[in-house]
């Protein structure tokens, strides 16, 4: 009978096999449901299980048993392959297996072996396979003609774009073209784009990191060395307490919670500090609500109790920290009353949090956008660093500043990509750095210099993505370059992620050329095409859209937040007419006249349609050859690929491989940390294992140990900046502080002869960062156990920043004039990243105009788990789009009822810019009475109107909504030009 067929199918002789296989695989697989179980046994057992289970099935679906061998031809000749890739939606770096049948991505399987995610995903990762359909993508190049997008050919597009670019370069200089790169590019593409931009002759290039963690990168690097997450998600399992301040990991880094929740089960205490009661806060042992923008009062309030009770790590501070006494002076003025007045947290709560962090060491501190996106973001992040330094938590497993990065490859793009102030590997723009990279690229320094307007412009930082609008709209004489920006190239960046949408629309309409190279260029496209009444439109403007391939349509390496590199295999061929970003770079470079130079040292291989493109492996090797500063040198394609194939060999807690060999290449993985987290110094042959936790003196250098960097001299005003006696990485021959290494120091110490003859030749006149042979690094680490960058103290006082000791300053737009009087912002700046920048004058004006009365609610913004960034990709994915169908504002029940607003009503959120957003009201206690929150992933509505008609046909996302950044206000960090997106003001009324 029909209904019994199932049992019959599993019955009879096969049933025993099926069931035994099944249940053992169940047990095994479930074992991994909890990281405290052995994940390995499962694979074996599940292997058996699958084999037996599948024996009863021969139908054309993809079976893992076959697929596990990598390639298999089905009985009917179908080609089935498993391609290992990495989620492109955030910096956690979750691996995923794509199952591809005849070139079609048919299934997605979890990678239980990944030590980072153990098969787990968040909504976005679990919906990855939609990228294999991409129905809402741009399918062919398009051009805006009379307000509508029309299809054109690639040749037409590249010819016209390059001609326009060259004519703009000729007429207004190369700095009139601004290239917005992408944190979605892999490392290879990022590095290639920086080179591309340089060869075009400008430093006007930037990417998402500017509006993401730029304040972290600058603030943290200036404190102790690198501006990166010190430890790893996995290492948080070793923490005894964790303070999340300004991070909503449950929505933004969901899989990181796998490690944290596991740790919590073993007793870790979790504190969340956020203006909103988030999904992360819901998991905390203590939740503390602060007013947005007051992280420094909170952190100083915490330190106050730490100092007062003598909980600080005195020896650590003495040995490894510079300037803590100065900080202490500032901190002790933050009495509990002052703290409560500023951030709203009563003394008892503060004390409890301080006690938790101090008495449960190692304790870790996590931050993210809640701290970075402020006009004083650089100071906030340094305050966080200082708390951790005071507690002696940096360079300690279980401690650390766990700075959760943003995009999947924002870390990598920051490390080696298109930054306006540095070349790959954070090499500055000084002539020495240029010469270093020219040598690596195999081009002539003089030739590159000729591309620029002048050597001065070559060495001057470009403007930032947060200010491109002003670079277009300002008068030429106000900005620090010859001409305004006339052409924008958006190469993987959305527009709705930058603030001041109303001004941005003006800038879009003023441009001469707009090029969008993106799989989903539609948000930018629609914004450019839409008409705004009464606004002038440049009649000569040309707009082009080029379909880029996604990261699933190419291979390459991606750097997760914990600095591990993972290699993505290409899953499918580029869909539709799309081309890989590096192919487009190469083709455009050819048209612009520097095609050969761009790939001077890079191998070309046939790509889509047989056209040549640079080979990702070869591009990575170029990065390896040049990025000595941050140890991007050891991660050769061979090593990375071996790691990806053998994930099961790495321990989940330590990320280390105890022992094991890659079957395919014979590469010995023993001792390596997963993904060779940078710094992985020296050449690949040196086999540095990568650094799981930065500045960790308990490990020797060749084991991934380290110490703080000597980057700021050996003393400051007579105070020693180097580490004190006895403080050094394990096994170091020098057991006290020392400066960074160069050929001179090596010779002085008598270590020169440890170099081989070839190394000597290369190292002569060079330092640890510029010695292309890697000899200096090798000798330092392998022979003498010392850190090539020296051994210094961390700086609690960063004297080269506007506020050496982090000071609280009120946001430019706020609701507390009383506190503005006490904690005013900085003075205005004239030529800051080439732009005049307002601080105090604007803040004062806002107070004088009593904006706090007209806009009494603090508006903050951030993330939803289902969407990512500007959201165009994820809102085009039906599996995700269904889960968040409209944009909304979180508003407290009391604030709502005072305004006659009920849950799910349409409301208008207005801000001082004059923008009026139409969103749904989500009446919830997540926010306090004085605060409202709008997720920033929406676009496609413009002040209440759906702009669907402005989209290129067929390329609009499923869900559209009001972009919060249409309404966000002016305000930029005083060091990095980070936009102030986390604190502004608004009013909310019912939509009439």
């Amino acid at each position: 009978m029909l209904l019994t067929r199932k049992s019959n199918a599993a019955g009879g002789s096969t049933s025993a096999r099926v069931s035994s296989g099944l249940s053992s695989s169940l047990a095994g697989s479930l074992a991994r449901a909890l990281p405290t179980m052995d994940r390995r046994g499962f694979l074996k057992r599940s292997g058996i299980g699958i084999g037996a289970g599948i024996a009863a099935v021969q139908v054309g679906l993809i079976q893992k048993a076959k697929a596990a061998d990598g390639k298999a031809a089905g009985a009917d000749g179908r080609k089935v392959e498993v391609r290992r890739t990495v989620c492109t939606h955030c910096s956690v770096g979750c691996a995923s297996d794509a199952i591809v049948e005849n070139g079609v991505w048919v299934r997605q399987e979890p990678v239980f072996d990944s030590p980072i995610n153990l098969g787990a995903h968040c909504a976005k990762g679990a919906a990855l396979r939609e990228h294999g359909h991409g129905e809402h993508r741009l399918k062919y190049p398009m051009k805006l003609v009379n307000g509508k997008y029309q299809r054109i050919s690639w040749d037409e597009a590249l010819n016209e774009i390059s001609a326009r670019m060259l004519s703009i370069k000729k007429a207004s200089g190369p700095d009139s073209v601004f290239f917005v790169g992408s944190s979605k590019h892999n490392n290879e593409q990022s590095a290639l784009l920086r080179k591309f931009v340089s060869f075009f002759g400008t430093n006007n290039t930037d990417h998402q990191a500017r509006i993401c963690h730029s304040t972290t990168v600058a603030g943290v690097a200036n404190t102790w060395g690198y501006g990166a997450m010190t430890n790893s998600y996995n290492d948080m399992q070793n923490s005894k307490a964790a303070l999340y301040i300004g991070s909503n990991a449950a929505e933004a880094h969901p899989v990181s919670m796998l490690h944290m929740l596991h740790a919590k089960e073993n007793g870790t205490k979790m504190i969340v500090v956020d203006p909103r009661f988030t999904r992360t806060a819901a998991k905390a042992d203590q939740y503390i609500r602060i007013r947005s923008g007051t992280d420094i009062p909170f952190l100083w309030g915490l330190l106050y109790h730490i100092f007062k009770n003598g909980w600080e790590d005195k020896k650590y501070i003495n040995d490894r920290v510079y300037g803590m006494d100065k900080v202490r002076e500032e901190v002790m003025t933050w009495t509990p009353e002052k703290v409560e007045e500023a951030c709203g947290v009563p003394e008892a709560e503060m004390y409890k949090a301080a006690e938790t962090m101090a008495k449960n060491r190692p304790s870790t501190l996590v931050w993210c956008m809640g701290q970075t996106q402020h006009s004083i973001g650089n100071a906030m992040v340094r305050a966080s660093c200082i708390v951790q330094l005071a507690l002696g938590n940096i360079g300690v497993s279980g401690g650390g500043a766990n700075i959760f990065r943003g995009h999947d490859n924002v870390q990598g793009a920051t490390d080696v990509g298109p930054n306006p102030d540095s070349l790959p590997g954070y090499y500055g723009l000084a002539a020495g750095s240029w010469k270093h990279w020219c040598a690596v690229w195999g081009v002539d320094y003089e030739w590159v210099k000729k591309q620029y307007v002048s050597q001065e412009m070559m060495e001057k930082s470009g403007t930032t993505v947060s200010r491109w609008v002003d670079a277009v709209l300002e008068k030429s004489e106000h900005i620090d370059q010859d001409n305004t920006v006339k052409a924008m190239v958006f190469w993987g960046h959305a527009p709705n992620s930058q603030t001041r949408g109303l001004d941005m629309k003006k800038a879009f309409d003023k441009l001469d050329l707009l090029v969008v190279i993106d799989p989903y260029p539609s948000a930018t496209a629609a914004m450019a095409a839409m008409k705004v009444d009464g606004q002038e439109l440049n009649p000569n403007r040309a707009v082009y859209l080029l379909p880029a391939a996604t990261q699933f349509e190419t291979s390459g390496s991606v750097t997760a937040s914990n600095r591990s590199l993972q290699w993505r295999e290409k899953v499918i061929e580029p869909l539709f007419e799309s081309r890989t970003d590096h192919m487009i770079m190469y083709q455009l470079a050819q048209k612009l006249g520097f095609g050969k130079e761009l790939v001077a040292k890079i191998k070309l291989v046939p790509g889509k349609g047989g056209m040549m493109e640079p080979e990702p492996e070869s591009m990575l090797e170029e990065i390896n050859r040049g990025s000595w500063t941050i140890g991007y040198t050891g991660q050769s394609p061979l090593r990375l690929k071996a790691h990806m194939r053998n994930m099961q060999m790495f321990d989940v807690k330590t990320l280390r491989c105890k022992s094991g060999k890659d079957a395919e290449t014979g590469y010995d993985l023993s001792g390596d940390y997963f993904g060779l987290p940078w710094p992985c110094y020296g050449t690949p042959e040196l086999k540095h294992p990568g650094s799981p936790n930065l500045y960790d003196t308990s490990k020797s250098m060749m084991d991934g140990g380290g110490n703080f960097r000597a980057n700021f001299g050996v003393e400051k005003d007579g105070v020693n900046l180097l580490a004190e006696d006895g403080s050094c990485s394990k096994g170091s021959e020098i057991t006290t502080g020392y400066p960074e290494f160069d050929h001179i120091l090596l010779k002085k110490l008598g270590w020169w002869d440890d170099l081989t003859e070839a190394e000597k030749k290369a190292a002569e006149g060079k330092n640890w960062k510029t010695d292309l042979s890697g000899g200096i690094q090798r000798v330092c680490m392998q022979v003498h156990g010392v850190h090539p960058w020296g051994n210094a103290k961390a700086r609690a006082v960063v004297w080269n920043f506007p506020d050496g000791v982090p000071l609280h300053r009120e946001p430019i737009y706020g609701t507390r004039p009383d506190l503005v009087a006490k904690y005013p912002t900085h003075d205005d700046k004239k030529a800051f990243w080439r732009m005049p920048t307002l601080y105090k004058s604007l803040q004062q004006k806002n107070v004088e105009e009593k904006l706090y009365e007209k806009f009494p609610i603090i508006l903050t913004s951030g993330r939803l788990v289902e969407y990512e960034g500007g959201g165009e990709e994820t809102r085009s994915n039906p599996w995700l789009a269904e889960l968040q169908q409209e944009n909304f504002v979180e508003i407290n029940p009391k604030a709502a009822s005072a305004r006659g607003i009920r849950n799910n009503d349409y409301v208008v959120v207005s801000t001082p810019t004059g923008a009026r957003l139409k969103v749904r009201a989500l009446v919830t206690q997540r926010v306090g009475e004085d605060t409202a929150f709008i997720p920033f992933h929406f676009s496609g509505w413009w002040q209440g109107k759906d702009m669907i008609d402005s989209y290129p046909e067929g390329a609009h996302p499923i869900v559209r909504g009001e972009a919060v950044n249409t309404a966000t206000t002016y305000g930029y960090d005083s060091v990095t030009m980070m936009q102030e997106t986390k604190t502004t003001i608004c009013n909310i009324e019912k939509w009439a």
């Binding site: 029909l2 209904l3 067929r5 049992s7 199918a9 599993a10 049933s15 069931s19 099944l22 249940s23 695989s25 169940l26 697989s29 479930l30 074992a31 449901a33 909890l34 405290t36 179980m37 599940s46 699958i50 084999g51 037996a52 289970g53 599948i54 009863a56 099935v57 139908v59 054309g60 679906l61 893992k64 299934r107 997605q108 979890p110 098969g119 787990a120 995903h121 968040c122 909504a123 976005k124 990762g125 679990a126 919906a127 449950a250 969901p254 899989v255 796998l258 929740l261 919590k264 089960e265 999904r279 806060a281 998991k283 939740y287 788990v865 289902e866 599996w879 889960l883 206690q925 997540r926």
Partner: protein, 209 residues
């Protein structure tokens, strides 16, 4: 024989909706049909908020099965409650009866036209041949037959969602509870697998044979 069950650990679930999209992806379930969904209790209330992911629990004495006017439900050897879409008439009764709101329908129901009922299959397909195209089109993948567990549980971001042999997952859960010393409620088990008020169910509903 293993008895398949779900546990959603409310101490771990973070409402990330991975389970929901994993299911959509694996089975290509259309918009509007949600075999699994996540509910947050006391949203935004400090100290009281908990998220829970819910789908068909594959109840012991399944109310859906009992009310179906065409008796198209059946239970597999593993205790998975499945149904036959060829027989289903789309009356909606199973959804009225199900405590958890598991049964879903592709259309809106005017004139009772809902289309065939769809619900979580525990990734065990349907009555068609295991792994066949027909099975996939009607019920989605049959992971159990492939020796795999439900996609939702396998991809859960925090391993809050456990799906599999009831004894095994209960063990895992119990271990967690012991470690953390709280959060011992096994959500929904009472309703799904507990004592029934149904006199007919004294002799547990037998598999059809």
């Amino acid at each position: 024989m293993a008895r398949m069950k779900f546990i959603c650990d409310a101490e771990r679930c973070i409402e990330c909706n991975s389970c929901v999209t994993a299911c959509k992806n694996e089975h290509e379930v259309p918009w509007g049909v949600n075999r699994r969904r996540v509910v947050t209790i006391n949203d935004g209330m400090v100290g009281q908020e908990k998220s829970i992911s819910v789908a068909c629990m594959h109840c012991s004495d399944a109310p859906c099965m009992a009310v179906c006017p065409v008796d198209c439900f059946y239970r597999t050897d593993e205790g998975v409650v499945l149904h036959d879409k060829d027989i289903c008439i789309g009356c909606g009764y199973c959804s009225y009866a199900c405590p958890f709101g598991a049964p879903q329908f592709p259309s809106n129901g005017a004139f009772g036209l809902r289309g065939k009922m769809d619900k979580c299959t525990f990734c065990a397909g349907g009555p068609e041949e295991n792994g066949s195209k027909a099975e996939f089109e009607k019920y989605g993948r049959n992971r159990l037959a492939e020796g795999k567990l439900p996609a939702c549980a396998e991809m859960c971001s925090t391993k809050a969602l456990l799906g599999g042999d009831g004894d095994v997952i209960a063990d895992i859960f119990r271990t967690r509870v012991v470690h953390r010393g709280k959060g011992s409620e096994v959500w929904g088990w009472g309703t799904a697998y507990g004592q029934s008020h149904n006199p007919e169910a004294k002799a547990p509903a037998k598999e059809k044979s």
